[in-house]
């Protein structure tokens, strides 16, 4: 327990400066939607521009945020860990907003509400990352979830989008309940919801049925957000039906927040009972990656394929968590950052197609690399990174997981990860084959794909992330390792 932190813990609002800025930006966006004249030229575009500025302002505020202090009566920590995840989440938000602007305009989505909800969802995710207390973490999760349910159903004319929202909402509501049940068990066992106090009390609690039940419930509740097996059933339908930028956000932002929460709860609060949850997470990890990869092999729709791929990737992250060591902690953090860039990038390519009114089946991507070499190459780059080909971000992500797992003595888990990655060649290369080997359908051959400027910036940002993390993993790993030590 850190007594110094508890003493400092008054309502130190500067700790949540970025969250305040982002919330204000969200409210402003709602107002902008209401007060900008209906038929103003480029109104939705202007709102989109405002949203980008809001996200950037929050990122700027992050640099002014004090590190190493507690706030809001000790319920949040602004530590290196929190800073890392908040930075990643805000960069995700920036990329998602950039790829949304043209999409929102074309699909006639109410822009103010859309961006405001994205902002609020990100605020919720950020709160999950900085929470020092199970209750504030839960509230952050709810804010993230409720915003996400609405975002998933934003394409009102499209029944798939409605299906996406309903499925997500029904299973999500139950998962929240499960998580809350787990928290309540933990409160009963330890008498506290503060993670450090929980850890302190747990070292004297004998492991038994109640503790195990709490572990299972917490894993289930958070596993839902992570789309881990067997809590993944919502993911394919929701990912496919939701507006593509929202899918991108759910797959990386929502997942990133869940990883942050996992790390906080398990590595801080439940640290004394590591042996109890290590194997549980290892088992969930293997199931998740295997099911995700095998199911992805049969997909013909790229959004759905990426949904299963993201289930598999969640399995890889869980392998880092299951290692239950400092290497695993930093590996999971690095993975989230790498995954954010490569997955958002892949969805951004799909957005470029959707903006032209083209679909997102494998057949729709046929000949893409010849129609639009740069766009095709970027997609190739993101897929290679997802596959773990060096020297891209995704390679180091997997490499660090290997290191953590082998170091923890979980060689079988590392081997499972290796074999799973080999399976994933089958579907990632199905996309590559469509783009590079198959000819474009006649009516589309030679027709370029025009991506708007903001979308191009978003794509460039994602590609830069994949390459920079790949060539200079040291910087980011160092950051993650520092955060791991200070947890």
């Amino acid at each position: 327990m850190n007594g110094g932190l508890a003493l400092l813990a008054n309502t130190n609002m500067s700790v949540i400066l970025p969250e305040i800025v982002l919330t204000a930006a969200g409210l402003l966006l709602l107002l902008a939607e209401a007060f900008l004249p209906q038929r103003a030229l480029g109104r939705t575009g202007a709102v989109g521009g405002l949203a980008v500025l809001g996200a950037l302002a929050a990122l700027a505020a992050l640099f002014r945020t004090p590190v190493g202090v507690a706030g809001l009566s000790g319920t949040v920590w602004s530590d290196g860990f929190g800073m890392f995840f908040r930075a990643v989440l805000l960069v995700i938000l920036v990329m998602v907003v950039l790829m949304s602007v043209e999409f929102v305009e074309r699909r006639k989505i109410p822009a103010g509400e859309f961006y405001a909800l994205l902002a609020f969802a990100t605020v919720g995710a950020m709160f999950m990352a900085i929470s020092a207390d199970l209750i504030s973490l839960y509230i952050g999760l709810e804010l993230l979830s409720i915003s996400s349910y609405v975002l998933a159903g934003f394409l009102r004319g499209d029944p798939r989008s409605g299906e996406a929202a309903i499925k997500y909402f029904l299973t999500g509501a139950m998962a929240s309940g499960i998580l809350l049940f787990g928290i309540s068990l933990l409160l009963g066992l330890t008498g506290s919801t503060n993670l450090r106090e929980v850890a302190g009390a747990l070292s004297s609690v004998p492991s038994g049925a109640a503790l195990f039940a709490a572990l299972v419930l917490l894993t289930g509740g958070l596993g839902f957000k992570l789309a881990a097996v067997p809590f993944h059933l919502w993911a394919p339908d929701t990912y496919q039906g939701a507006p593509t930028p929202v899918t991108a956000f759910l797959s990386v932002g929502s997942k990133g927040a869940a990883v942050a929460a996992f790390l906080r709860i398990f590595f801080v609060g439940l640290d004394p009972v590591k042996p109890d949850w290590g194997f549980l997470l290892a088992a969930v990890s293997v199931l998740t990656m295997t099911l995700g990869n095998v199911a992805a092999l049969h997909q013909r729709n790229v959004k759905r394929l990426l949904a299963y791929s993201s289930i598999a990737q969640a399995g890889y992250i869980l392998a880092a968590l299951a290692s239950a060591n400092a290497a695993g902690f930093s590996a999971a953090m690095f993975y989230v950052a790498a995954y954010a860039f490569m997955n958002v990038g892949a969805f951004a390519v799909l957005v470029a197609l959707a903006n032209q009114g083209e679909g997102d089946d494998l057949d729709d991507l046929a000949g893409l690399a010849r129609r639009e070499p740069v766009l095709g190459f970027l997609m190739f780059l993101f897929l290679l990174s997802l596959l773990g080909i060096p020297p891209l971000a995704g390679f180091w992500a997997k490499f660090f997981v290997f290191r953590a797992a082998v170091d923890a003595g979980l060689v079988w888990l590392a081997v499972a990860l290796a074999l799973n990655s080999a399976i994933s060649v089958g579907y990632y290369y199905a996309v590559v084959k469509a783009m590079y080997v198959s000819p474009a359908p006649e009516e589309r051959a030679g027709r370029p794909v025009a991506a708007g400027l903001l979308l191009q910036v978003g794509l460039a940002l994602a590609a830069a992330g994949v390459i920079v993390l790949g060539l200079m993993p040291e910087t980011f790993l160092g950051w993650a390792m520092l955060a791991a030590q200070a947890r």
Binding site: P390, F399, A418, V425
Partner: protein
């Protein structure tokens, strides 16, 4: 000259060449072809300069370069060559140059093809020059990316199947290899990924219970590439579908990556396991030799026959490594280079005849001596090299492998003699089928081998002959590192 980072130049000249090549307009196909060939001539010149400066008596690494990459994990951009890797680099430089020359017939998506082959050249050079596990793996995987496209886009009718099969087989192996590498790194002190440094530490620091697993992980990664039976099934598919220059590169160089991995990594790093595994490796080698020869004999497709003949010839490399006597290992490395030359020649010739007849069925190809006398003579030369005629390089590699192995694996070597007979049989059978008799009417009049084709074949013929009558050109290079390896694996 010695001050230049020669190995980096070998890697980055083709890579930069590929990047610059992107700016040539795609419709200027001839410019692209000549440009790519000019770029690939630079490594040949560099290798010649390096050869002049090379100290053949030294077992250590030369032309070393070192730049930290991820210092906190001990990962570095570390390059260096000894005689063994330099021999393979020299082979690669030559074969790539000739492969570009042989690629002038490519007509579809020309720019992409030549850029991909340049990238492939950079990756191959990197594999043979890397002295850091992570860097080695980076190049190892980088080979796959262009290779997939080169088969999947420019290949034959079943190209997509062959390309993905090649990719998945290799990736399964290489990912298990990564796990083994990570384990090796962690148990040897977790502060360096240097290949020689880990090899130095491993005998003392790798726990007994881990040794076999690490060895097998590494071995699987390399075995798929060699390919060791029963992991070879991707090879005939890939060869049959790949366009001629890619088959040449695949057989001449990419297969050597597998055996090079055994020589550079698994044998010296885990010598105790290598000793215990030697008999199994020898058996696998003999299976490769005999199975490959039998399968080659059964083929009706000319190209598939040459592909299986590769499986057979790579068996000698395995057998020689397993025997671990100075003669056997020297011959084993010699065989890698010799097979690189001879298989390249054979695949080029398959292409020469296919271009004229549009068939690879040996049943339909008879009478080529009459139809294209010069090409026929060259094929006879290559066939004789392939069956191990004394005076050509194939003989030295195979004969000395057997001679060096006989004191270690007496019975196995006797069994292998059967393989030698089979090798002679399938090569003579091939020559009989393809060259003898009267040509079919539609093939009776065809242009003989063109000057460009001759330019690709003659250097290979000359090298085969040179190594056949003067093997010490190569053995002088390889002997010192081979002696070191033999001493280490032998437990001395």
């Amino acid at each position: 000259m010695a001050d230049l980072p020669m190995l980096s130049l070998l890697i980055f000249v083709p890579l930069a060449g590929a990047a610059v090549g992107l700016f040539i307009p795609a419709e200027r196909e001839r410019t692209i072809k000549i440009y790519a060939m000019a770029v690939s001539a630079i490594p040949v010149v560099l290798v010649a300069a390096m050869w002049a400066a090379f100290e053949p008596g030294s077992a250590g690494f030369q032309f070393k370069e070192y730049v930290p990459w991820v210092p906190s994990l001990g990962i570095a951009y570390s390059l260096g060559v000894d005689g063994i890797s330099f021999a393979l680099i020299a082979l690669s430089a030559l074969v790539f140059f000739l492969a570009f020359l042989a690629s002038f017939g490519i007509e579809r998506r020309v720019k992409e093809f030549f850029i991909l082959v340049l990238i492939l050249e950079a990756a191959v050079m990197g594999v043979f020059a890397a002295l850091d596990y992570v860097l080695f793996y980076v190049f190892w995987e980088a080979v796959l990316i262009p290779m997939y496209f080169l088969i999947a886009i420019w290949g034959g009718p079943r190209r997509e199947y062959a390309a993905i099969k090649f990719l998945i087989y290799t990736i399964v192996g290489s990912l298990l290899m990564v796990v083994a590498i990570v384990a090796l790194y962690l148990v040897t002190g977790a502060d360096t990924f240097s290949i020689p440094e880990i090899a130095r530490r491993a005998p003392e620091s790798v726990p007994l219970s881990w040794r076999w697993w690490i060895f097998l992980g590494l071995f699987l990664g390399f075995a798929v590439k060699v390919p060791v039976w029963p992991f070879h099934t991707w090879l005939p598919d890939a060869h049959v579908e790949a366009p001629t220059p890619i088959s040449v590169i695949l057989a001449a160089i990419l297969l050597k990556m597998g055996t090079y991995g055994l020589v550079r990594i698994s044998q010296p790093t885990l010598p105790e396991v290598a000793r215990e595994f030697a008999f199994a490796l020898a058996v696998l080698g003999v299976i490769n030799i005999i199975y490959g020869a039998l399968a080659a004999m059964a083929q009706k497709d000319f190209k598939k026959m040459v592909a299986y003949s590769s499986v057979s010839h790579m068996g000698y490399v395995l057998l020689g490594l397993a025997a671990n006597t100075p003669a056997a290992v020297n011959a084993s490395v010699f065989q890698m280079v010799s097979h690189g030359l001879i298989s390249a020649m054979l695949f080029l010739l398959v292409g020469v005849f296919y271009d004229r007849t549009h068939t690879r069925e040996m049943e339909r190809l008879h009478g080529m001596y009459l139809a294209a006398p010069m090409a026929g003579v060259i094929l006879a030369f290559a066939g004789m090299g392939n069956l191990g005629l004394p005076g050509l390089s194939g003989f030295i590699g195979e004969f000395f492998t057997l001679l060096g192995s006989v004191q270690v694996f007496r019975t196995l070597v006797y069994v292998t003699l059967l393989g030698v007979v089979l090798t002679a049989a399938f090569n003579l059978l091939m020559m009989h089928r393809v060259l003898m008799g009267r040509p079919r009417e539609e093939f009776a009049v065809m242009p003989d081998v063109s000057p460009r084709e001759l330019a690709t074949l003659v250097p290979l013929m000359a090298a085969t002959l040179l190594l056949g009558i003067w093997p010490s050109v190569l053995m002088n290079l390889t002997n010192a590192p081979v002696m070191q390896l033999v001493a280490k694996v032998g437990g001395m």
